[in-house]
Amino acid sequence: MKSSLWPTRRQTLKAMSAAAASAMLPGALLRSASADDGSITLAIAAPMTGNDGAQGLNAKEGADMAVAAINGAGGIGGKKVSYEIFDDQGSPKEAAAVAQRILDANKFTAVVGHVNSSCTLAAMPIYSDAGMPVLCGSSSNPAVTSSGWTNIIRMTIRDDYGAQQLSAFAVNNLGKKKLGILFGNDDYGRGLKDEMVRAVGVLPGKVVAEAGFTPNVDKDFSSVITDFKSKGVDVFMLNCSFTEGGLFLGQAKGLGISGVPTVGPDSLLYDKFLELSQGAAEGAYILTAYDPYAADPTTKTFMDSFTKAYSSLPSQVAVFTHDLFLLVKAAIEAGATSATLIKTIKGMHFAAAGGKYAWDEKGDVKGRTFAVLQVKNGKFASTGESVNEAGLEKLRG
């Protein structure tokens, strides 16, 4: 989820102090894959209150869909699956406390969560010491899988790889050479922008213009647009929220500039983007961690039943939480216990509502690229394309 690309010093300190605290506790307790009553219980760690409260609700909705599907089909090897939710409030401090409570309960097969990267990073040392498997959906900070923890896998594409894919799509898929990047001038936006620029460095293209803006403050992009135009930008890279992205395209149209291909991340995937662009978003490409409009029957069935149950499209958190529950089922049916869950999953090929997944040694999804959506006739639609990552391997030793 949105957080800085790299852990801040405060996050690192928190993670380190959490690790120190957990080291003083009694050693890891042994757990079996099922609790005494013969059911399999998972812990969901997500923000249920606070600014990110909606994310926790999304996780719950995704989990409910999965639990209904699993138990309706006889459970996992005859055992019913259930879950308990722990509220980390989106705060790293609370996340560390939540991690300890989950371990103390001594009845959970695995943790599904956390949502915010800062929370996952704060809680991981505690889970890691106890050997608790962590199935993470949406934490996209690279440090989540590159800190040496062996008890975690995640579903989403890490921020740095994601940023590289945005550049690769513009250069390799669209064949554009002159990129103009608009980015939010904060920690997160700058981190993504730097990674996009680094990726273009190993691709046959060039960043000819870049422009930062103050998120939620700047609304006038006309001088930036004139600047992009004069520098011959042939693809707009909108690394920003739907508000700024929509305003940028609408104002570009007002300045007589239209038809320039546009590429952006899933922060643009809101109807408000289309409204604010006043028609200029037509044809824009949006790269997302999963494809909600995929023609795949599994995805389609899930989307339809989710939309029917909650009258909205599932968010990324809902889809990944849903898929993680199914993944636990698949892994346990393949013979995994709580202790071997992560190891088993890393050897699996798995498909569910969010598409196909496989994992590398670190726990990152491998061979999985962003889904490419496009605005067609004023609506978001799947293109079925995938990002051509040719050249990026140089950055990923």
Partner: protein, 291 residues
């Protein structure tokens, strides 16, 4: 060169929007020596009123006029509720009460229209127009022309009508004007109402230029217009207008020279320098304040 001129046109367009908003400040300040901190919020509500009316299929000219009248009514109401009862108090008091009135307007607007950014419909046709070998967007030209027209109208009001004359008298000496039979309260309400009227016109141009209206534009308009008025010389009617243009051009040029991320920093630095060198603004004259 073409690039610089095109950027200059961008700067003049956004600058003339700032200028029009600064006008409302200057009107009030030039007469009462009071900063109307509610002004930005009044024009924000006016712009939203225009959006709502346009959404109800009201013809554009009628919707714009009605929204400007809403602005005038709000301006008058702010004067009546937040200023007149404290007019005789220390100068800080009306400033604070106006700020309070502004925050109330902002909260009410958020309750009605929600916190998100709303798309604003295009009221003028969009096309590129060739001027002296440059290709300029029709929208910027329309905004420039309307701004200049409105400034001319405002000047005419202040210097060419009996009401304007009365306003100047009130400005020189409130008590003496009252003794001479000038209906002081009416004149002051009229000035606030006019400030609101022109401000909302500026707010609608603002919406057209940005393609959007949003709650925070109240605060944005307040800071930009106040900065413009400071550059030009607060209380100097034409100075405020020129100040707006200068601010717009300075913002645009700072994008060209140092990059868009530092726009506000650079333009505000210009204001600091101007005020250090000329404390009364570029076009302000040194006046001794009456207490």
């Amino acid at each position: 060169m073409t690039y610089l001129l095109e950027q200059l046109a961008n700067g003049l367009a956004i600058g003339s929007v700032y200028a029009l908003i600064a006008l409302g400040y200057s009107l009030v300040y030039s007469i009462l020596y009071l900063i109307n901190f509610a002004h930005g919020y009044v024009i924000m509500v006016g712009a939203f009123a225009a959006l709502t009316l346009l959404g109800m299929e009201v013809p554009a000219p009628a919707a714009v006029l009605a929204a400007c009248l809403v602005g005038a009514a709000l301006g008058a109401a702010v004067e009546r509720i937040a200023y007149r009862p404290v007019r005789a108090a220390n100068r800080v008091v009306p400033m604070v009460s106006a700020l309070g009135a502004g925050l109330v307007l902002s909260s009410v607007a958020q309750l009605i229209w929600g916190p998100e950014v709303h798309a604003f419909p295009q009221l003028a046709p969009r096309a590129m127009i060739g001027v002296l070998g440059l290709s300029l967007p029709s929208q910027s030209l329309v905004i420039l022309v309307i701004s200049f027209l409105l400034v001319a109208v405002a000047s005419w009001f202040l210097y060419g009508t009996r009401l304007g004359l009365a306003a100047q008298c009130v400005c020189q000496d409130l008590e003496a004007s009252r003794l001479m039979g000038i209906p002081v309260d009416t004149v002051i309400v009229a000035v606030y109402a006019l400030g609101g009227f022109f401000g909302v016109a500026g707010g609608i141009l603002f919406g057209m230029y940005f393609n959007a209206v949003f709650i925070q534009m109240g605060l944005l308009a307040t800071t930009k217009a106040w900065a413009a008025a400071m550059i030009g010389g607060v209380g100097n009617f034409h100075g405020a207008f020129l100040g707006g243009l200068i601010l717009g051009v300075a913002e645009t040029l700072s994008v060209v020279v140092v990059g868009s991320a530092y726009r506000d920093g650079v333009s505000l630095l210009i204001i600091v320098v101007v005020l250090l060198l000329r404390p009364n603004g570029l076009f302000g004259s040194v006046t001794t304040e009456r207490s």
